[in-house]
Subunit: 336 residues, 2 copies
């Protein structure tokens, strides 16, 4: 049974355990600063599939299956799969789970989907609606470029504020017993500051990350230093700077514990411009390096704040502003 605390924070009284997690990434992601900290690195981003879209489904299916296996479970042990991605009609996720025979709950939170799934999943487990769920998200550079921007072969120039959609997926299993648990969840409201540049998603998302993180800290009566790590999904270098600046105006210094999955995923020599992005970016960094660090006792208390830019190519062409949204969960490791 959950209860509410402060303005918007949900206290998960049973503290659902995160029993397994897995990350599956493409070649470029596997060669970056986080090399060696994922469960699987594809040596070919098509993964033997006939299309980029099916390759993305392959990544997500593989992440779910590995996370289930690492939990000592089988797919039929899951009561639900909560998943989403960036493709039109979220087809990457539905195809990933079409043969699972597990109830499928499709989400769309743009790049915040992994956090949305974890927040929803932990509420469902805490409230008794499900015993075990998988939360998963994916993205693929090639399927995203074609859909959002230009055909790959066109070789379009990228602006300095543009981010690089990660070819990656992550999945986590909630429910059962384990030493990493979800203690709190918060769902974000949309924040629209009038950004219309689809090549500057960091700026569009930073105000929503500010809103969610400052509300969560205030609801918990906590300071940044009460956490070993506060990590956003994919603000990139531009959005991260904006988030730190916005919080500093409230006398909150996030910098000692702050990271962004988009900044962690690629190195400066990888031509990723303002950093990584896409649903798979935060999903693979959480379900790879970050949860491994928790498992190893290097991180005891973590805020995972997934950030999403709510837009479509059509809405941008029609001149609509890009609103941001940020959902977050608090993860805690028991023991040493």
């Amino acid at each position: 049974m959950s209860k509410r605390m402060g303005k918007r924070t949900i206290v998960l009284e049973k503290k659902p355990a995160l029993t397994g997690f897995a990350s599956v990434v493409g070649q470029k992601e596997g060669e970056g600063p986080l090399a060696g900290r994922f469960d699987f690195v594809a040596d070919d981003d098509r993964l033997g599939e006939s299309s980029w879209e099916l390759a993305e489904s392959h990544l997500q299916r593989s992440a779910i299956e590995r996370a289930v296996e690492k939990s000592g479970l089988h797919l039929p042990d899951l009561d639900m799969i909560l998943a989403g991605d960036l493709l039109n009609q979220c087809i990457g996720s539905s195809i990933a789970s079409v043969e699972s025979n597990v109830p499928y709950v499709g989400l769309y939170g743009a790049c915040s989907t992994m956090a949305e799934g974890l927040a929803l999943g932990s509420c469902l487990v805490d409230g008794g609606a499900a015993r075990r769920v998988a939360a998963a998200a994916s993205s693929h550079f090639c399927s995203a470029e074609r859909q959002y921007r230009f055909p790959l072969a066109y070789g379009g120039q990228r602006t300095p504020t543009a981010q690089w959609t990660a070819t990656a997926a992550g999945a986590a299993i909630l429910g059962g017993k384990g030493n990493i648990c979800v203690t709190h969840a918060i769902f974000g409201q949309q924040v629209d500051m009038g950004v219309t540049d689809a090549n500057n998603m960091g700026a569009a998302m930073a105000p929503s990350a500010y809103d969610t993180i400052s509300t969560l800290l205030s609801d918990l009566g906590a300071e940044p230093r009460d956490f070993d790590c506060i990590v956003t999904g994919d603000l990139g270098y531009v959005g991260s700077d904006l988030l730190l600046t916005l919080l500093r105006e409230d006398n909150i210094d996030l910098s000692p514990v702050y990271s962004d999955c988009g900044n962690l995923l690629f190195g400066p020599d990888q031509d990723a411009h303002a950093g990584g992005s896409g649903c798979g970016c935060s999903a693979c960094v959480l379900c790879g390096p970050l949860l491994r660090d928790m498992q190893d006792g290097k991180i005891h208390r973590l805020i995972f704040a997934g950030t999403g830019a709510l837009m479509s190519p059509v809405s941008v062409q029609q001149g609509q502003a890009i609103a941001g949204v940020c959902h977050a969960v608090v993860l805690e490791r028991s023991g040493n």
Copy 2:
């Protein structure tokens, strides 16, 4: 606190109340057999907006605001809006709620989204994660035709099995006190029978409706006649026939209590071919005529089974089969 029953059914022990509902529809929908049973009928399907996409957002925002008002509430009383639609990146729903200042949880269940939102929302209220939530969904004939099929002006021929995307939205408020409540929820698994014809969604969705409805009845130890009405979302004439046939093979006769929102929405003279469809179809029929009948004591026990076809234009072009998914809730009216 919820608990699980049988294979997949969730028992909502606190029976979250459905305190308000509203439906907003376009001109054609307002002239059909259900005329006079919606909250608002647009006399112009553009609703004064500059694009069909913004018109769809307008419909959904209006449905949410009316449902909130009919609940005697204000937007800030909501802990979450759970919403989705058919547009790429679900932009119709995010724009509808961008100024609400309410946490926004984006869903993608194709045309099953209204049922997905009601099922998730009632679990969140039952489990204590939220006090009051709105579930909403929308579709618009013109934005859907352009995105999925042809530009309107092209005047493409429609096949006899094609359905007509409803210009409509529905919203319901869960939580608080009221005499209509949600007693059970069930999330559907994807069922893929190899249908690849994007003009025959009814056939693609019927097997998933069969799976969810027969599982729910079996989990509850119930027969169709234990309900005043069992209604699917948008199977249309083709899919409805298939569903009744599939159930008949299990010796379940659904016909005495069965309806389909897609069959109810348009009359035979309205050129809708195999019936209505789209997220807004089931949303407006539930949050209009059906819930009005419950309020008036004409229906006491209802299964609302939203049906969705999980596909995208790209997946169809790439030859992928269209899987169906069906989520359902059981609604009960107390008193006479």
